[in-house]
Structures are given as C-alpha cells and as structure tokens.
Amino acid sequence: MNAPFYKFGLFGEDASLLVALFIGIGFGFFLERAGFGSARKLAAQFYFTDLRVFKVMFVAIVTAMLGAFWLSWLGLLDYTQVTVPSTYLVPQIFGGLVFGVGFVMGGYCPGTCCVAAATGRLDGVVHLFGMISGILIFGELYSFIEGFYTSTPMGRFTLPDLLQLPFGLTVFLVVLLALAGFAAAERLEKKFNPSGEIPS
C-alpha cells in the first residue's frame, strides 16, 4: 500500500500545496452546490425549514468514513497514517457551544463564508472579517486562555475506544444513526416547510 501518497513520500511539499488548491476547489465547489454559499439556507437548518446542513454533513462523514474503512481493509490505504484530530474534550465542547452561537448569528462557518464572499455575498465578506477579528482577540488573550485551551488532552481518542466496541460495529452504528437522521429530517422538513418553499 502506498496511500496516503504524501506520507509515503510520493511527492514533496510544494506539490502538496498544489494538491491543497485542487482539493480546496472541489471542497468549495460542492459547498456551493449544496447551497452553503447562502446564509439563509444555512440558518434554515436551525428553524427546521431546510435541514440540508445536517444532511450534507452527515452524508459527507459517512461517505468518507466508509471510504477510508474499505480502502484500508482492501490494503490500499494505511489508516494509521491518516491524521485524526486530537481530542481536547472540554475546550472542544466549550468551543463548540460558542461556535454554535456564532453560526446562528453570523449565518456562516469559516469555510462557507469564503464561498459566500466568492459569490458576491457582502455579509459573507463581513463575516470573514469578523472571524479574523475574533481569532485576533483569541490570540491576544491567549496567555489567559492557554491553561483552558490545553486542558483535558486525550490524544487520538476515537469512538470505538470510547464505546469499547469493535471498529466495524461503530461504523455500522454511525451509518444507522445517519440514515435514521435523514428519515427524521425529511419528516421534520415536511412538517415545518410543507410547501418546500425554501429561501434561496
């Protein structure tokens, strides 16, 4: 097996930047295709009128998860060489709570505000600058936050570890969860937005 290609030395750092560009293009393309360049569409998730944020995210997660699992099983991908974000439980939960507030208020997330800005949405541009300011504030206050920021490190801690379940079973449960979620989402959308008139 020689994937992940970069980690097996198949190409160097400069080439990897080009790869980054192309992967980013694919990323941005599908974000816009999904309608995530529009804050109204994104925010609709939280008013139950259009649950595509949930749908897109979970389909993407399931696709990549199954893809990585099977490629690894087939011996085509070295699963251990794929970086798993480290877990810092408390700051991540707290950060998530804060992030959620910003999401509903601002209407975008860091990736989608780029797409919005690129397609002419002024609020996306403003959101982008707001984000930069927020990061700056964080950086300036870092010395006060550092302790909290680095608390509860758990390293590479995956759901199979947490639940003490076999990996394959966890994958299956995630798929089931997602499918159940989609069914529920369809039903909720019909209830809150029966005419299917969604902001575009």
Binding site: P4, S16, L17, I23, G26, F27, G28, L31, E32, R33, G35, G37, K41, A43, F46, Y47, K55, M57, V59, A60, I61, A64, M65, A68, L71, T83, V84, P85, T87, G95, G96, V98, V101, V104, M105, G106, G107, C109, P110, G111, C114, V115, T119, R121, D123, V126, H127, F129, G130, M131, I132, S133, I135, Y142, F157, T158, L159, V171, E197, S200
Partner: protein, 187 residues
C-alpha cells in the same frame, strides 16, 4: 422557483433570472465526502478552514509587531520556524481553492450576485453587524475547539474522533438553543 423572502439585489454580476436549483443535499454530501476521502488518500489529512485564517492573522501580527508575535505561543505555532512563510501552508492554499471552487460552481449555476443574505424583517446594516459579531464569536469558538465544521466535524467526524463528535454535537445544540433569539434575522 418562487422566492417568498425579500432580497437586497445590488449590482447583478453573473445572475440568471432563474438561478439553477441547488443540488440534492445527499448528492452534494457524497461529493463533499469524496473530496474529503481524496484528501485522506492523497495527503493523509483532512480539510480545514479556520486554520488558514489563523495563519493570516499570525502573519499579519508578525508583519506589524514581530516581537510581539514571536513572544506569543499561539501565533508562534502558526508562524513556524523563523524565515518560513506562514502563508506557504497547506490550509492557506486549500482555502484559496475553496473560494475558487465556490465561484466556479456559482458561476455555472448563475448564483453569483452582489447581495446581502438576510430575512425580510431585518435591515441590511443590522444584518451586517450580526455577521461581523457572529463571525467574531465563531472565530473564538473555532480556536478554542481547534477547528471548525470542516476540520473538526467533517474531518474528525469521519475519523470517529471523540472530540470532533463532541464539538459537532455542541455546535448543533447551542445553535438550536439560541436560534429563537435570532429568528428576526432570518425568518
């Protein structure tokens, strides 16, 4: 395609009278998932967004006040070794790609237009204020969580990282919780 919500059309750039409807969320999700998978296979890493902006901030601070930037552990992490360009960074190139990809998709579908996305019950200025402050809050949240929906929820989620799933659940929970207070902005 009916538009029950008012929009603030400015100068029309590449707009069709009837912009194409969006792709099915399920298909778009598969597309996104495949892009993420490609990143795993080619690079052994996932996607991201907030990290790129942090690189911009760190680079900016270093340009304006280099000593201050270097004495700050947070900025230093993003600045790398002295002499290296913090903007010559995977995420920075990726985020540029994101903008390009978004533009391409928008142009193909006739959805590029100068506009402020908002609901009918709020003024443009108030919306922009909320966008700015919301962006700021989100910036702080993403740094605390060491990522955002792209880096943590998608990338970490597909890799089944506990912290990423916890982050994702927290985002949805708090967003739903405060949605009521911002309803005038959207509905």
């Amino acid at each position: 395609m009916s538009e029950p919500f008012a929009t603030d059309h400015g100068v029309i750039v590449s707009d069709r009278a009837e912009p194409r409807p969006y792709m099915s969320p399920y298909l778009a999700g598969v597309g996104l998932g495949l892009v993420l998978l490609a990143a795993y296979v080619v690079m052994g890493r996932g996607l991201g967004a907030s990290g790129a902006f942090t690189s911009f901030v760190a680079a900016g601070v270093e340009t304006v006040a280099p000593a201050h930037a270097r004495s700050n552990a947070f900025y230093t992490e993003y600045l790398g070794d002295p002499g290296t360009n913090p903007l010559k960074n995977w995420l920075v190139f990726e985020i540029i790609g994101v903008a390009i990809g978004g533009l391409i998709s928008g142009m193909l579908a006739g959805r590029v237009r100068k506009e402020v996305e908002k609901g009918p019950r709020i003024s443009v200025n108030k919306r922009l204020l909320f966008a700015f402050v919301g962006g700021g809050i989100m910036g702080i949240g993403s740094k605390l969580a060491r990522g955002c929906t792209s880096g943590q929820a998608l990338t970490g989620g597909a890799m089944l990282s506990v912290g990423s799933w916890a982050f994702m659940i927290a985002v949805f929970a708090s967003a739903y919780a405060v949605a009521y207070f911002f309803r005038r902005q959207w509905l």
